[in-house]
Structure formats: structure tokens, C-alpha cells
Amino acid sequence: MPARTASRLGRWLVSGPPMLYLILFFAVPSLIMVLASFRTPGEFGGLAPLVEEGKLDLNLDSYARFFSESVYAQIFLKSLWYALLTTLFCLVLAYPLASLIARSSKRYRDLLLLLVILPFWSNFLIRVYAWMIILGPNAALAKTVNGVLAWFGHDPVPLLFSAFAVLVCLVYVHLPFMVLPLYANLEKHDQALLDAAQDLGANRWQRFWRITFPLSLPGVYAGAALVFIPAFGIFAIPDILGGPSDSLIGNVIKQQFLETRDWPFGSVLSIVLTVTALALAGLAAWIARHNLGTPSSSKEARA
């Protein structure tokens, strides 16, 4: 057997099985969903027959519905807004954590990093449930807050089943995703740059805003993408911690598939969600690559 054929065979033996599996259980289902978004909902849920009376039934009705019924656009924009807020709060909380880990001695670095990652590996629902306890009406936090509010003559506010609860938990669940890329970036910064800036008279703020922060932008964008995408499609957090008016796009998708059983419309919502999320993440990656002219930062972006 010629060497070239053998290596080709080896290549297909290695990459074939995982590729086939993922084509069957990822690519094909995704394509079916794209196709489903152009079809008509079935009388009893699901999909109407693809070919009816000899005619192929493909249409844009479900897309038209998404763009014409303002309630969906509102929920979509609200989800976008929540995901952006989550990303911003995660960034603010993650920056000190990532800087501390990056600056700590090698001995503690792995431990500090592991401590950030561990909560991410504990069950997602448990982390949501924890906030149900913390924000519950009989818990210490709600009593304290409402005690203070009563002092000012304000009516008590519920902490649980509110937009506040949803946002706090969104930040909580996604924080590790922001810390990791930020740390990976900050770790590579050259201390000499900061020393030089200090010698030239830059104060702490100037050193941060003019050196550290611009250089960390690739890490910021990577973290933002990692936080934004899952936060945008979330349904369990509003489902458990939100009130009736806190539904996000993920909840509407869940409802379309499991309750209303309008698959075409559910598919449209899923596709709009994914395309928007990936487009924004792609935009962040593009900005990270092109907007930073300095050679050192473009090296960071590639790393």
C-alpha cells in the first residue's frame, strides 16, 4: 500500500467517527431546525406535512410573525439588554480577580485559578437555587433590606421573583467565563511597560487606563463573548428566579417547543438568537483583531 494512501486511510479512520457522529447529532438537527423555520406549524403541534397536495410548503410566515408582533421584539431586546448588563457586571467583578491571580506568585496561582473555576463545575441549577434561598422573603437579606426601606417609609419590595434576582444570578453563573480569558491575557503583560510609565510620571489611574486596560482588550472581548452568548439564551434563571414579566427569549423558545408546540416559530426564535449572539461575538473578535494597532497587542489577540 503506498504511503500516501495509508496516511489518507489513517486520517479518515481517526477523524471519520467523531465527524460522522457530530454530523448526525449536531449538523443534521441544526439544518432540520433551519428548514423547520420555513415550514407551517402542524394542526396538533409540530410541523405540517412538507409536501401538501403536490406542493412544497415552505414560507416566511414565522419570520414575518417575529418581525410584526412587537411583543417578541420587546422580549428579544430585553434579553439583549440583560445579556449586555451581565457582561458589563461580570467584567467589573472579574477584573480584580483576574489581576490578583495574574500578579500572585506561581505557588498560589493555580490554586486561586482553581477556586474561580470550581463553582462553574458545580451544578448549574444548584447555583440558581442558592439565590432562591439568599433572596427568599424570609431570609436575612430581604428582612434587612425591607427593614431599611420601612425606616424610610417605603413599602417592602420582593427580592425573589424579580428582574434583580435574574440579573444577580446571571452575573453569578457567568463570572468564571470572564475571569479565565482575562487572566490568560493579564498574565502575559510586561511589567516593564508599567515601570516605564511610572518613571515617566504616570499615576496609577493613567497606568491602568492607558496601558493595562488597552492591552487587556483581547481578553475582555474573549470574556465578553463567553459570557454574552450563554447569557443571551438562558431560560432556567428567569424561569426559577424571575416573576411573570421577567421572561426572556429563552423562555419564549422553551414555551414554543414544549407548551404551544409551534415548532416553526420556536425555530425562528432560536435561529435569530443564535445568529445575533454569534454575530456580536464575531464582531467582538473582529474589533479585537483590527482595532489594536500596536504589535504587542496584536500578538496578544492571536494568543
Binding site: 467523531p18 423547520a36 480584580p96 470550581l118 441549577l125 425555530s267 432560536s270
Partner: protein
């Protein structure tokens, strides 16, 4: 500059507290002698005892373990192949197929698999959940294995080939032992991801099948009792132990994402 470090420490400490206080509260209340998760009354193990008498919970735990074993086994084999292929024979299609399930919102994978299984008249249940879990675990295993390969000394495999070893023997006796820590870490990761998964399971399990996360979800939605805290604490103990072991076996695990 001790002053600056102090501020940084304070902010980071607050960050760590934010990450851990909620988890500690869940565990603490699992030992609380009160039906309400509101204030500390006294120590008890009752919630753990009632957990082991809860038939639904035991069935759910059995299902979760079975699915996680199946999913981690298959996804480790396929993920290792994918990791080796991505390193040796890089191709864009393969990378997209392997990494996209990790990059897209989870709900998308859940609903598209739901449509897929229903259209094929495939009964939703343990098997459909396991098939779905394998699909998203492959990528995680592949990333860990590829990172391990990237840190490997290439001259070893070249030497084996020069000595006349076939590609399979080179893989079997040189590459595989060297990447084994990555493979094991990947397997533990896949097991953890599978046993913890809620979103994709939620859509692919159908009405009759319950896993631990699904059981926890319905308990949270219907009636919260500290039994939820007890099962949560045990599940947390299991998955965190697995991840700590995995990160000890393969230290690159922490950075491979």
C-alpha cells in the same frame, strides 16, 4: 505599593466571597433542622436520610449515573479521536463540528435535537439523552486531548516510525500512553458535564425520564424542601471531587479553554 495591593485584595476577596457564599449556604442548610431555608435552627442529618428513602430521587440518580457513564465512555473515545485528528490533520470542517456545539447557546442544541428525535420517531428517554450528551462532550474531550498533544515531544513518534512501527502501533505504544492523562481528565470532565447537564436534558428526556438535575428542577419549581439542599450538596461533592482529580491529572485542563 502595599496600598494598591490591599485594595486589589479586598476587591478580589469580595469576588471570591460572591462565588462561594451561595454554595456554602446551600450546603449549610442541608444540615438545618427546619423545613424553611430561612434561619439556622439546629443540626440534623434527616434530609440526607429522607433522600435515601425517596424512590423518585433514587431512580433519578440511577438514570443520571447510567447516562453519564455511557456518555463519558463514548465521548472519550470519539473526543480523543477528534483531538488527535485536530492536531494531526487540521481541517476547518472538523474544528467547526467539534467546537460549535460548545460555542452556540445550549438551548439551540436542545431544541434542534428535540425536533430531530421526534421527526425520526425516536422515543425520548435515556438513550436520546445519552446521545445528546455525547454530542456536546466530544468537544470538551477533544480540546483537552489536543492541548496534551501540543505539549508532546514529537521526536518520540518520529523515532518510533523510523524504527518501523506502523501508525497504529506508534499510536498504541507511544502517543496514547503519553496523552493518557489528557484522556482521563477529558473522561472525568465529560462525566461531570453529563451528570450536571440540565438544559439539553430538559429538551431531550421526554415526559417519563428523570435525571438528578431534572428532579432538582421540579422540586425547586413545586415545593422547596431542604432535601434539595441535601441532594445538591452530594452532587456538588461528587462533581467537584472529579474536577479536582481531573485538574491534578492534567494541569493544562485549567487553561485549555
Amino acid at each position: 505599593m502595599p496600598k494598591r495591593r490591599l485594595g486589589l485584595w479586598a476587591a478580589a476577596l469580595a469576588g471570591y466571597a460572591f462565588l462561594y457564599v451561595p454554595l456554602v449556604i446551600v450546603i449549610a442548610y442541608s444540615f438545618n433542622n427546619s423545613r424553611l431555608n430561612a434561619e439556622w435552627v439546629g443540626f440534623t442529618l434527616d434530609w440526607y436520610v429522607s433522600l435515601f428513602h425517596d424512590q423518585d430521587m433514587l431512580v433519578a440518580a440511577g438514570n443520571s449515573l447510567g447516562i453519564a457513564l455511557m456518555a463519558s465512555l463514548v465521548s472519550t473515545v470519539l473526543g480523543t479521536a477528534a483531538g488527535v485528528a485536530m492536531y494531526r490533520f487540521p481541517s476547518r470542517i472538523l474544528s467547526v463540528l467539534v467546537l460549535a456545539p460548545i460555542a452556540i447557546p445550549e438551548i439551540l442544541m436542545g431544541v434542534s435535537l428535540l425536533i430531530f428525535f421526534v421527526l425520526l420517531n425516536f422515543t425520548l428517554g435515556l438513550v436520546s439523552v445519552a446521545l445528546a450528551h455525547i454530542a456536546f462532550c466530544i468537544g470538551f474531550v477533544a480540546i483537552v486531548v489536543r492541548a496534551r498533544l501540543a505539549g508532546m515531544d514529537e521526536t518520540l513518534t518520529e523515532a518510533a516510525r523510523d524504527c518501523g512501527a506502523s501508525p497504529w502501533n506508534t499510536f498504541r505504544y507511544i502517543t496514547l500512553p503519553l496523552i493518557m492523562p489528557g484522556v482521563i481528565a477529558g473522561a472525568l470532565m465529560a462525566f461531570t458535564l453529563s451528570i450536571d447537564d440540565f438544559v439539553i436534558t430538559f429538551f431531550t428526556a421526554g415526559a417519563g425520564t428523570v435525571t438528578l438535575p431534572l428532579q432538582i428542577y421540579s422540586m425547586i419549581k413545586i415545593a422547596v424542601t431542604p432535601e434539595v439542599n441535601a441532594v445538591s450538596s452530594l452532587l456538588m461533592l461528587l462533581t467537584l471531587a472529579l474536577i479536582i482529580i481531573a485538574s491534578k491529572i492534567s494541569p493544562t485542563l485549567l487553561r485549555s479553554e
